[in-house]
């Protein structure tokens, strides 16, 4: 998955604001901004979760569950997209 190229966004220290061209918008704080920055290029959910778990010294499975929830929302609302591979 990766963030969509047609999304308008700004990210600074622990804060993310994003809007679709249609004007649907989201704000997120904390690790959400890290996730967004890692979605700059295609990345799998396991790679994303592993990177965040290492950065924050957290349990991989717990991080993966949280990341999956957030990323699903990003995809459903048009901020991110999956590729065709099995790991998305």
């Amino acid at each position: 998955m990766r963030r969509r190229r047609d999304v308008l966004w700004r990210s600074v220290d622990g804060y993310l604001a994003a809007s679709t061209v249609a004007g649907t918008a989201l704000e997120a704080t904390g690790p959400a901004a890290d996730i967004w920055n890692l979605l700059d290029d295609w990345i799998t959910i396991d790679e994303l979760s592993g990177e965040l778990a290492t950065r924050h010294g957290a349990d991989f499975d717990q991080v993966r569950a949280d990341v999956a929830t957030f990323v699903d929302r990003l995809i459903d609302d048009g901020y991110a997209e999956r590729n065709d591979g099995p790991d998305g």
Partner: protein, 360 residues
């Protein structure tokens, strides 16, 4: 005292080296700085100044400043989305246009500090021959014009432009000129459409004013914009010191238009406002540029934030004699929609009073 020192220090973050001692904020000054920064969309600069030690403030102040910054950033993404939709509508209608000010400056002139340069509306310059087409295209998708045209034909002949709002009250400023009054009526805005820079937003290529033309607009905004905040001064300095625009081209255009005084006042004003002690040939030119008495008086009308009609009346000395009667008629007898239901007699009494007072 502390609040303006802190804002000045923040306004030059990333522009000049900070060798001076940090500015310390008292609790009282911190409140004023946080509020002022939010109002002037400078919260990102102030936050960065605090984080880098240029300004000393407690954690509560930083949190308040960051709240203002985040609010502004959220607005920026909505405004950029509106800019992309506006681009699609204007392009589909065949309108010639250029993005200017906030979004154009942020992407082209603050590439290393994109998140710091926030803005609250879309600013677009429209080719004068395409004005009605632009309005029609944007009205067709539901945008409204809260302040109607002063009189039919005013916009294109003498006006600065129009502000439209969308269903969410986001604003699109459509510019026909960079200012009303003496300097606005001297401009030849069609010249700006002989050249362009571009940015990409949401995968769409957006035409913008060129660097020299962005500097020309930034100087107009700082000198004649009515609210000459820290950010307006920073934009002028940023274009010269960071982007390194061809300021001689700006001056050449300004001299052809008869608005070199605005560029000179903009550059010297930015240096003074920001307390810059940086040598630059554009500043040398601006300091040496003689500003005539009439230009100086007109600039003073804007810098002292006199009412709209006073500012508009500065055009009289710059118009050809054949255009003055029409100009004064349109200015003093606005159309019914622009009078908000007041009688012509009442308006004439008000306007004639204004003109008389101005000429004393």
């Amino acid at each position: 005292m502390g609040d303006s020192a802190a804002l000045r220090a923040a306004a030059v973050v990333g522009l000049v080296d900070h060798a001076a001692a940090p500015v310390e904020l008292s609790a009282y000054d911190a409140d004023a700085v946080a509020m002022r920064a939010r109002f002037d969309r400078m919260s990102g600069f102030v936050s960065t100044a605090i984080r880098t030690g240029v300004v000393e403030a407690d954690d509560a102040t930083l949190e308040r400043v960051d709240d203002g910054w985040h609010e502004a950033l959220f607005g920026v993404t909505l405004v950029e989305a509106l800019a992309v939709r506006t681009a699609a509508q204007l392009d589909a209608a065949g309108v010639r246009w250029r993005l200017t000010k906030g979004a154009a400056l942020a992407h082209l002139d603050y590439p290393q500090q994109l998140a710091l340069r926030t803005f609250g509306d879309v600013d677009v310059v429209i080719h004068p021959d395409d004005w009605q087409g632009a309005l029609d295209a944007l009205f067709a998708v539901g945008h409204a014009r809260p302040s109607p045209e002063l009189r039919p034909g005013w916009d294109v002949r003498f006006g600065k432009g129009a502000t439209l709002v969308d269903a969410n009250d986001l604003e699109i400023d459509l510019h026909l000129r960079f200012a009303i009054g003496r300097f606005g009526v001297r401009s030849h805005m069609a010249d700006l459409f002989e050249r362009q820079d571009t940015i990409e937003l949401a995968g769409r290529t957006i035409p913008t004013l060129t660097g020299p033309d962005r500097l020309l607009h930034a100087c107009h905004h700082l000198v004649l914009g009515g609210f000459s905040g820290w950010r307006a001064a920073r934009d002028v300095a940023q274009l010269l010191l960071i982007t390194g625009v061809d300021w001689r081209e700006t001056v050449a255009v300004a001299q052809r238009w008869g608005v070199a005084a605005v560029v000179a006042a903009g550059i010297t004003g930015a240096w003074a406002r920001l307390g810059l002690d940086v040598a630059h040939p554009a500043h040398d030119w601006a300091v040496d540029h003689p500003i005539g008495r009439r230009d100086e008086r007109a600039i003073e009308v804007f810098s002292s934030q006199r009412p709209f009609r006073h500012q508009a009346l500065t055009a009289v000395g710059a118009l050809s004699p054949t255009r003055i009667p029409t100009y004064l008629w349109m200015l003093t007898v606005p159309a019914r929609d622009a009078r908000h239901g007041r009688s012509i007699g009442q308006h004439l009494r008000d306007r004639v009073g204004d003109v008389t007072r101005r000429r004393r």
